[in-house]
Symmetry: C2
Subunit: 237 residues, 2 copies
């Protein structure tokens, strides 16, 4: 449908298929214009997608080149889906969710600030443990304003809140701001994640936003460190 995405996909496939090897120069923008029969800006936008993905680099005055990366890394990059919840990232596995807590409370000052709501508004206060193939993977502490996300019940929590938000409420999720740290488990986590007190966890603190710019979720997830890797590509401006 959208030309630049189709072209980006096409080039990406060619790279992954080994059409262009590591370090090799891609066709010039002008040549690709002719090849795909589009304007240069469209080609630029397509190739810029691949730069963001980390597959190629561009040098003014020289050309566009495939990065010198490992096949394994290349696949990683290509599948990189920066934005998915537990349900999506563990597709194909048998998932189970245990609800530890499910209340409605007033947010404390800090959380109210992060969600940009008042301390006398109400938020869900949820704690869940998520299992994949019978193994505990992560414990999630979630706070959501009930005004923005009404109607959550236990059956929603047992499946996927994100699915409910997008398909039942028909809301669109736009972005997430994350902070990542390493921490030690507390007593609750030692019990539910079945780890020892010396077992490190990866903490992901997240504020998630709807496409109208409102924050709809503040969550902290503590992941078993043997079950999660966080990947990122950063490009110098």
């Amino acid at each position: 449908m959208i030309k630049y995405q189709e072209i980006a996909n096409d080039i990406r496939k060619n790279i992954l298929a080994g059409q262009y090897l590591s370090g090799v120069q891609l066709p010039l923008e002008k040549e690709m214009c002719a090849q795909y029969n589009v304007s240069r800006i469209t080609i630029k936008k397509a190739v810029d997608e691949l730069v963001k993905l980390g597959l190629v680099i561009k040098r003014r005055g020289a050309g566009t080149f495939v990065k010198s990366i490992d096949d394994e890394d290349a696949k990683d990059l290509s599948m990189a889906r920066q934005f998915t919840g537990f349900t999506e990232t563990n597709k194909g596995k048998t998932l189970r969710t245990e609800i530890i807590k499910f209340d409605v409370v007033h947010p404390d000052k800090e959380i109210a600030a992060k969600l940009q709501i008042a301390t006398d508004d109400f938020v869900y206060d949820i704690i869940r443990v998520r299992f994949a193939d019978g193994m505990p993977i992560v414990i999630e502490y979630t706070k959501m304003p009930i005004n923005l996300i009404p109607g959550i019940k236990k059956d929603v929590l047992l499946k996927s809140i994100y699915f409910y938000i997008q398909h039942q409420l028909k809301l669109k999720i736009q972005s997430a701001h994350r902070s990542i740290r390493a921490i030690s488990p507390n007593a609750l986590e030692i019990e539910h994640l079945k780890v020892r007190d010396s077992f490190p966890l990866l903490e992901v603190e997240q504020i998630a936003f709807l496409d109208d710019g409102r924050a709809f979720e503040y969550s902290i997830s503590h992941h078993r460190s043997d079950q999660i890797v966080f990947k990122s590509v950063s490009i110098r401006q």
Copy 2:
């Protein structure tokens, strides 16, 4: 110099100065065209920078809106420099580096693959502990091909390898691919980072690239978890 960056900066400052409050609609693209006397594509590119930063959202058919974020988060986002080494991120502190190991070796198969070199090429094999204000912050295990980065000596390691690469060798760093995990310290780290064996560390595994697409560094950094937070903004496509 570059118009869209200047405009992006100007709008960013206005948002941070409280000119536009959380949730408020920005002027229309058409209006900004008139205001800055540029074409619409230039305005689009400027505002897209702010979308990437996480400060605003755009909705086709509706307009552009400031995200509902905390002042503190806003500042974080605005300073977000995805790409810096130890020296940059700890500016203003008193830095010290201890060299634990500095050899030249053949890379093993896995590292050769990640750097896209042969196992009979040579790489520096470096281990360093970095201190800020007298406190150990991170231990870095670095491998670099000597062909790409020639002439490293102890005085370079004691300061900043990145500074040497950019200012002495006049090479440009383009990007880094990172994987982040939580781990436990090993004996070496317990000693040098002055932590107990139950103290969690944040591992950052990184492959860094020059602007010609060649990988010039494979490194693993183990950070004291009380001294590092990794931040990220992800936008749904």
